[in-house]
Subunit: 262 residues, 2 copies
């Protein structure tokens, strides 16, 4: 399996322009060209799985880590899985996010604030930041199937309080099983619950989601709804433990397709 | 459509005995005979829909209401839909629950405590009480897609604090769309998330769920997990509003079937 060969790479200037103008997009498909996506915490199970899936979809993925050597090791592992021509590289988190129109943050809650503090001065206005943090009690030595309530209401809202004005925060991917992402030969039988206050940012994330086989995205309203969606990680961990499985997930029933509410 | 004709009715004594011994059940199917189920708040959309579905499955359903006349009107409506031989009757809530092995409570959060107070002295030890209350902010004049946090952690735990010792509290049905229940000609494309501290009580509720076409049940752990599952009503209301639909629901993906974790 390799990255999608028919995806034309847009020059960097175009990508940057697209990022800054995406809120004015109307009917133009957002993902007509390869997108540059940085994954902060991209060496973890969830982040690495997303990196693989987005690289397979033809995007230019940068795996970020606190530790450059770990990032390099993950890039090597990814290339062993996807082939040497896979469009994937690695860097320390601050370098990874610099200039990227889309940044996905997949770190444990215990490291969330510290991680954001290392990257915020590299985030430009207009950047779409996708926070996937679940505020699990494991962060304070408790159970992963119990949750904490951040002062701001949700981990996504906490993240929003840490980034510069104009950064467009989206909450997503909390309920997506890392093992399902990693199983590249299988479509993913899960929906991605997407929250955020910027409709076009959600749509952009949704289009990335829609390129992963089997996945759909559902617009779950404003960023504050992450107060609910983030907790679903704990519910899925409970179900996984109870049934001795690894990849319980959610589908929202009631429509063939969700996507942009239009 | 009428109630299932091949369901033998067990004599009342048997039902009472089954209710008191159900926690010792092992491999014996729990629902080999008709079950007596009271639905407190059974004249509301959710309760009435459940009453219809359970009557169709061949159970003996009693619609409870604060107002006997309203209960009678709902019974008449149900019989118009299901036929005169449908096993469904009505009563004021306290009379409806008396002697019933299974009681489902479907009332708005604003009326939850007051309603329990009218029925608790009729609930015998061993009774399975299924609380479907979602603690929505509508209860205090706020939005139905915002939630309140009861002191006890969840509405189900609040309910558990109100009933006599030995009553087996289960949280379920929060995410089931009333319109889907009511559409009797269509299977229901939703899973029921079931929480509770009594494994056999959850299994009994699960078997009732399993008799509704299309529905599966998922054991979501202890009653305290209702802190998460109850909030999903607000998430579904958000999705319904956003997509202008009425019956968004949840499926848990990852297994063909869930049911009893065994």
């Amino acid at each position: 399996m390799t990255h999608r060969p028919d995806r034309p790479s847009a020059p960097d200037g175009d990508i940057a322009r697209r990022a800054s103008t995406v809120s004015h997009a109307t009917e133009v498909p957002l993902l007509s060209s390869a997108m540059e996506v940085a994954i902060v915490g991209g060496t973890g199970h969830e982040g690495f799985g997303l990196a693989l899936r987005l690289a397979v979809a033809g995007h230019r993925v940068t795996i970020g880590s606190r530790d450059a050597a770990k990032a390099t090791a993950s890039v090597e592992e990814a290339k062993q899985l996807l082939g040497d021509d896979a469009s994937i590289d690695g860097a320390e988190n601050p370098a990874a996010v610099a200039g990227k129109p889309v940044v996905i943050v997949t770190v444990p809650f215990a490291g969330q604030v510290a991680t954001y503090r290392t990257v915020t001065d590299r985030l430009e206005p207009g950047t779409v930041v996708v926070d996937a943090t679940s505020p699990l009690q494991a962060a304070i030595g408790g159970k992963a199937w119990h949750v904490l309530r951040p002062w701001e209401g949700s981990a996504a809202e906490l993240a929003a309080s840490l980034v510069p004005d104009g950064v467009r925060m989206v909450g997503a991917f909390h309920t997506v099983a890392a093992s399902a992402l990693r199983a590249l030969d299988r479509p993913i039988d899960e929906d991605v619950l997407v929250c955020g206050d910027d409709v076009e940012a959600k749509r952009l994330v949704g289009e990335l989601v829609g390129e992963i086989p089997g996945m759909r995205w559902v617009d779950c309203g404003p960023l504050s709804t992450a107060r609910i969606t983030e907790q679903l990680t704990a519910l899925l961990i409970t179900i996984n433990r109870r049934y001795k499985v690894k990849d319980a997930g959610f589908r929202i029933s009631g429509r063939e397709d969700w996507g942009s509410p239009g």
